[in-house]
Amino acid sequence: MPTDDDLTTVLRRGFTQATADLDPQPDLARVVRRRYVRARRRHLAVGVAVPAAALAVGSGLALAGRDNPNHTPSRTAVAVPKTAPTTPAPVRPASYKVVALHHHSAPPNCPANATAPVGKSANPAGAWFWTNKRTCVFVRIGWADTKPASAAPVHLNGYPGLYRTLKNGVRAIYAPVAPGTDDVHPRGGWVVLTVSAKAPQDKAVRLIIVPAN
């Protein structure tokens, strides 16, 4: 049986190998700050809404008990100022297209003797690329008219409007295509990149799609 030292040595190596390609998004601090600001706004909104609701309940109780001669209203109704609804500034929707890739290999997997960092296959439609650690990743490129309702937004610098889903270790990334920007799909839709969840998805996105507007 291997000793604990043998085992932990292999374990350390395994952990290091398994996480070698993992790097956080470069703008992580900014993303956290943005979430922090949103959370603080929600916190402040609740701080205003809860006392206002309490006042409304108090005034309701005061009205309910007004016919009782012994009833003394504990609070008086207070008019809660309404804020005017704000109209968001018009934002041009993000739209993307797949980059023109050259055929470097017919099979869908990465050829062992490939010299190019990225190539494409016709069947299944997709592209492969080498990571910095010489790991080959295949990305299937597909199309969807709509994205799933469960898709979550992806925060990738310079690539707004992306969404992603995860099923059994397979990541699907949805990039919007605006109507009129794609000849095959004039009504617009979504380019779908399907890739292993272990693969560097940000690299896959940056290599395969580019903003169209």
Binding site: M1, P2, D4, D6, L7, T8, V10, L11, R12, R13, G14, F15, T16, Q17, A18, T19, L22, D23, P24, Q25, L28, A29, V31, V32, R33, R35, Y36, V37, A39, R40, H43, P108, N109, C110, A112, P124, W128, K133, R134, T135, C136, V137, F138, V139, R140, R164, L166, K167, N168, G169, V170, R171, A172, T194, V195, S196, A197, K198, A199, Q201
Partner: protein, 169 residues
């Protein structure tokens, strides 16, 4: 709740790679690991003034707790059907033993035992620091480590395979 200053950005830049890798080893999924790290850093940002002196242990504890929650929630959600697409993911330098035997065996461990191994042998924390991160006693850390290594030893089987594979690389 004041906005953390530039020292927070510096902390994120220095610590996020380690936190992300730890979260990945605990959850087994890159997307979930990113979510866990963001949520943990958000907790750090909320308490930045109070923990400014020593934010790393707090962040590490948040990552471990959130990853444990993720792991528990995994079994409450309905099972999703297998996707038709199975992407090719092969490495010329793949260590077959590590990728196909050891790491899956680590992922099969109970979440607490996995956390103990990751914190001790990936983050290189002491028994006491690991106990602090997991909110348990040092004795529990030692026993969990022992149980985890025993299970891994069983999964690995013949030690000769380990040695042979080590030399092959």
């Amino acid at each position: 709740m004041d906005m953390p200053g530039s020292d927070f950005d510096e902390f994120v830049r220095d610590c996020s790679p380690g936190l992300l890798r730890t979260a990945y080893l605990l959850t087994g999924d890159r997307g979930h690991a990113e979510d866990v790290v963001q949520a943990a850093l958000l907790r750090v940002a909320r308490r930045w003034r109070r923990i400014r002196g020593e934010p790393a242990p707090y962040a590490r504890r948040a990552v471990v707790n959130l990853a444990k929650n993720h792991w528990r929630d995994r079994f409450r959600r309905p099972h999703e059907s297998t996707a038709a697409v199975e992407p090719v993911y092969a490495s010329p330098e793949t260590d077959v033993l590590l990728q196909q035997v050891l790491l899956p065996a680590v992922m099969d461990l109970p979440v607490r035992q996995r956390a103990v191994l990751v914190l001790r042998y990936f983050q290189d924390l002491s028994v006491e620091q690991t106990a602090d991160a997991l909110g348990c006693s040092p004795g529990t850390v030692k026993s969990q480590t022992h149980h985890a290594l025993t299970k891994l030893r069983e999964a690995l089987g013949d030690p000769a395979d380990v040695k042979e594979n080590d030399h092959a690389n």
